[in-house]
């Protein structure tokens, strides 16, 4: 057997609570419903995303802070862990095959890296042509990148992570959008292995039940290394 498949570490769910105290965080902010945010996380720091009210999709892309051509790669991450779900212990790899972050705590247990981000254009395909004039994650990404003007553009909007979303693949090869496994107060925490740009759209999708038709805020915390 090949080295990759026999070392598969992927799992459907792995719960792990954090020992970090929010009182010690160097950053602690509310990320309002439906909005984008772009910020830096340094190597060694730990980022926590809290699903405050439950089943809110946080659509996240990571970039190497010092090289815009290195970004989070869903395919490298899936290949190197041998499966699709992200949970405690999952290493998030870049397109260069380097570890960007490791998930160190997770009280939700399962996150999606296949479903991507919503866009006005894909909404016209998925729902109806007349759904084009609505908020979307990709427009959120683009306005954050346009204002930041740091050299990242639409070509860098690669397949993202959907924290707190449950998108199973069946044995028959169908993609499902299943009920969430998240709930109020559940969180995921990851430690950075390199200096990063973190681009998040707090998903404004109103055409499907991924956010229970009610997008809600999340909380973002960052800790320095112990």
């Amino acid at each position: 057997m090949n080295a990759i498949a026999t070392h598969a570490t992927a799992a459907a769910i792995r719960l792990q609570e954090s020992t970090l105290d929010p009182a010690d965080a160097v950053q602690d902010l509310s990320h309002p419903a439906g909005e984008p945010i772009l910020f830096e996380v340094k190597a060694g720091q730990t980022l926590r995303i809290v699903d405050l009210e439950g089943n809110q999709a946080a659509d996240v892309i990571f970039y190497n802070r010092h090289d815009n051509a290195e970004h989070y790669s869903a395919t490298e991450t899936m290949l190197r862990q041998g499966g699709i779900y992200l949970t405690t212990g999952s290493v998030l790899y870049s397109n260069d095959g380097r570890a960007m972050l490791t998930i160190v705590a997770d009280t939700c247990g399962r996150h999606d890296t296949l479903g991507g981000a919503c866009a006005a254009e894909s909404n016209t395909v998925r729902y109806a042509l007349q759904k084009k004039f609505m908020h979307s994650c990709r427009d959120n990404y683009l306005i954050a990148l346009q204002h930041a003007d740091i050299g990242l553009t639409t070509r860098d909007l690669v397949p993202n992570i959907n924290f707190f979303m449950n998108v199973p693949v069946t044995a028959e090869g169908d993609l499902q959008f299943a009920d969430g496994v998240s709930g109020p107060g559940k969180y995921v925490e990851m430690q950075a292995a390199m200096d990063l740009w973190v681009l998040i759209s707090n998903c404004p999708q109103l055409n499907n039940p991924c956010n229970a038709y009610n997008p809600t805020p999340t909380r973002l915390l960052v800790w320095d290394p112990a």
Binding site: A5, G115, P168, V169
Partner: protein, 278 residues
């Protein structure tokens, strides 16, 4: 060209250079393909055909209304493909958008490959297999050396030892695209299923010699192909398999197209593409 000739690798059996009086050496390679793999093709309309050696790579600009049939010339062929809109290379095949719009984690006849702009770039118009892998895994040079060892040109020459990632990087580089632009490919002829734990299972006996699939291009597309092995292929030795290709002009998707009717999402994606060609 004698149609009874074997499927020799053009790179292993270096052909003689053409005579200066007949300088274009474009043999009808399709005549060497298994007859069953030609089903439904009006072969008198074939514009070009090719045998790509395992590990090889190339790229083409495929116009709207052209068709390309891919043929597994040996069991276990893998063809990694990426697609960019020729008129605006920022528009490109998008794995998540295509999968979620069609609620699928495999491709078969009827599915379409959608761009980030909500348009169908290409449609699966024929297929003998029923499952092609859209999960985008590629071998890179490092994983390839770990799995198969080191093979340098000095010893191996044109027995092409090159990872799928490097092959595709070379091809997209020809159009000014860099590693930040390399998208998740579709791995034609490979099957990767997912179990209840979310783990991958590679089907080792999926594609047989003579299996085929076909794309109709719905817009002008830059298509890059690598015939390197799938990264989850458990075969212990590096033995990439040959790929047959044949292209013809089929016309744009008609109103009663099978792919338009396959899902309402596909009808809307094809409509969005039609709006580019008013």
């Amino acid at each position: 060209m004698n149609p009874t000739e074997t499927l020799d690798d053009p790179l292993k059996v270096i052909p003689a250079n053409p005579l200066s009086t007949a300088p274009v050496d474009a043999p009808s390679f399709w005549q060497r393909f298994p007859p069953a793999a030609l089903a439904g093709v009006a072969t008198d309309r074939v514009m070009w055909s090719e045998i790509m050696p395992g590990g090889g790579h190339w790229s083409w600009r495929m116009p709207r209304g052209s068709a390309l049939r891919f043929i597994a010339l040996e069991a276990g062929t893998n063809a990694s493909i990426v697609l960019y809109a020729a008129q605006e290379k920022l528009e490109r095949y998008n794995m998540p958008d295509s999968l979620k719009a069609q609620h699928t984690a495999h491709y078969q006849r009827g599915h379409v490959l959608m761009s980030d702009m909500g348009r169908s770039m290409a449609s699966f118009t024929a297929d003998s297999l029923g499952w092609h892998d859209p999960l985008g895994a590629l071998l890179d040079a490092e994983l390839m050396t770990k799995k198969y060892g080191e093979h340098r040109f000095a010893a191996h020459r044109n027995t092409m030892y090159r990872s799928g990632k490097d092959g595709l990087l070379i091809e997209i580089g020809k159009y000014g695209l860099s590693r930040r632009d390399l998208i998740a490919p579709v791995n034609l002829f490979s099957k990767v299923s997912v179990d209840a734990e979310g783990r991958f299972a590679f089907a080792p006996d999926h594609a047989k010699a003579g299996d085929f699939t076909e794309l109709r291009f719905d817009m002008d597309v830059i298509l890059a192909i690598s015939a390197a092995p799938h990264p989850l292929d458990p075969a212990p030795d590096y033995a990439p398999k040959k790929l047959g290709l044949m292209a013809w002009r089929c016309g744009a998707a008609p109103a009663d197209d099978y792919c338009r009717a396959f899902r309402p999402e596909n009808a809307r994606a094809l409509h969005n593409t039609d709006m580019l060609y008013l």
